[in-house]
Amino acid sequence: MGPVELLHMSVFSQSFSPCGRFLAAGNNYGEIALFSLSAALSPDATGLSQKPVLTFTAHEGPVFSLLSTDCHLLSAGNGEVSAWSWTELIKKNIKPLWTKRPNYKSSLEIPEINSMTINSRDNSLIVGGGDNNLHVLDLEHGVFKAVLQGHSDYVHCVTMREREAEILSGGEDGAVRMWDSRTAQSVHCIDVYKYESCARPQFGKWISCLTTDSDWMLCGGGPSLSLWHLRSLSPTSTFPLSGCQRQAAFYQDMILAVGEGPFVSHCLLGGDVKAQIPCSPQSLNTLQLNTNSTEHRVLTVGGSSAHIDVFTNLSYRAFSLSF
């Protein structure tokens, strides 16, 4: 990987292994790199432990989404979903378990897959991408069992509302749609850009970041990042962050958000921005918290750079892993 490629690299997705000791990151060249967290966090870590233990090309196009289940790593790129076994990857065996492609109607161009989420109730994978639809793949039988149609432009982000078994999806058309996972019908549709408190017409109406904890939902993108109460479908607070947010997460009593701008924003549920912690990439695409392991509880962010910043304490950047 030459220096020019490293300069143009963007990290689009991350996922922690189920044991919590490894981090997989996908970049715009279609590669997935595996980093060993236990080596990088150990007291005798060297510069070499911040390099990947394994790098391989997973897809022909950028890897926009990575997801970990109990024993598999699912990656989406070039319109297809591949599954890898974590134990095999740790042993440096890079053969995928399977690769599946949803039934796209048009055969001319291959729409990209932007986001994936798992519905743990019926063990299915929901992918959303460039063909404006959400495809539901049954992981037990390996067939695509449903197509959720409703968006009029491509789908940016998909997430799961655990308690009510609903799927939430946000797209370029500015709508956040809620689907019932059993009947595959659209239950609600919120046009975020129509609400005055959140709308930012200068950025557009697209929704690029969506996350929920069953009662509350965070969504942002063109409109400002806002917190919504799902039962009453009303926006409760808006966060005064300049720039468009690309990923947000609920953490304890705070909200962590990343997007344009070289920092991680810590916000309170009331709408105040508590802190903005600087990072090395100029703009950030992905944010992940390692909840699978108690001794490697870190926050990692990646963006438009070949470096992934690791935060052991949320208040400052500890070190960076690099591709």
């Binding site: 009662d215 509350w216 917190l227 109460h229 009453s232 009303s234 926006p235 409760t236 607070s237 304890q252 009593d253 309170l268 549920l269 009331g270 709408g271």
Partner: protein
């Protein structure tokens, strides 16, 4: 070269230090002088001087031994003291660990409480934007009353209208009947006249 120097060193050390160092040397010298004194054919004065010297050396040895015993006692007591301090510090460490765990739990609880409060505040903000329930109920009641009044008035007006209609109907029907009667009378009058005139003309 090193081996030669080593031999020299060993020889020199044996010559100087043959009896061992310090107290050991004193005891060895005492033993030697005792055996010499026992076997010496010297005069009584010299024997007495040597005897005195030996007593002196013995006293020195006893003194040194007493000192060593006291130092040993002191060391034992210091060890005990250190043991005590050590266990004390260990206990403090464990209690500090426990306190830290407690505090961590407390902080988790406090964060959860803060999150709940903030959610509550956010919802309260939204709810405040909607009008008060009592106000709305009062408005509803007032509107109800107005509605009742207006329907009451409408009923009255309807009743009046009915009454007037009926009265007009009565009036008009009476007028019509009168008209009819008058027409009938006129007709019968005309008929009478017509019957009369031909009768008159016929005569």
């Amino acid at each position: 070269m090193g081996a030669v120097t080593d031999d020299e060193v060993i020889r020199k050390r044996l010559l100087i230090d043959g009896d061992g160092a310090g107290d050991d040397r004193r005891i060895n010298v005492l033993l030697k002088s005792f055996t010499k004194w026992c076997n010496s054919p010297a005069t009584a004065e010299e024997g007495f001087t040597q005897y005195q010297r030996m007593l002196g050396t013995l006293a020195q040895c006893e003194f040194s031994m007493g000192k060593t015993l006291m130092v040993y006692d002191m060391n034992l007591r210091e060890m005990e003291n250190y043991e005590k301090i050590y266990t004390n510090i260990e206990q403090n460490i464990t209690s500090a660990h426990e306190k830290i765990a407690e505090c961590k739990k407390e902080i988790q609880r406090a964060k959860r409480i803060r999150k709940n409060r903030q959610e509550y505040d956010a919802l309260a903000k939204v709810i405040q934007q909607h009008p008060d329930r009592h106000e709305t109920l009062k408005q509803l009641e007032a509107l109800d009353k107005e509605l009742q009044q207006l329907s009451h008035i409408k009923e009255n007006v309807d009743a009046k209208l009915e009454l007037r209609k009926k009265q007009f109907h009565v009036l008009l029907s009476t007028i019509q009947e009168l008209q009819q009667t008058l027409e009938n009378d006129e007709k019968s009058d005309n008929d009478d006249n017509n019957q009369e005139s031909p009768a008159e003309n016929g005569e």
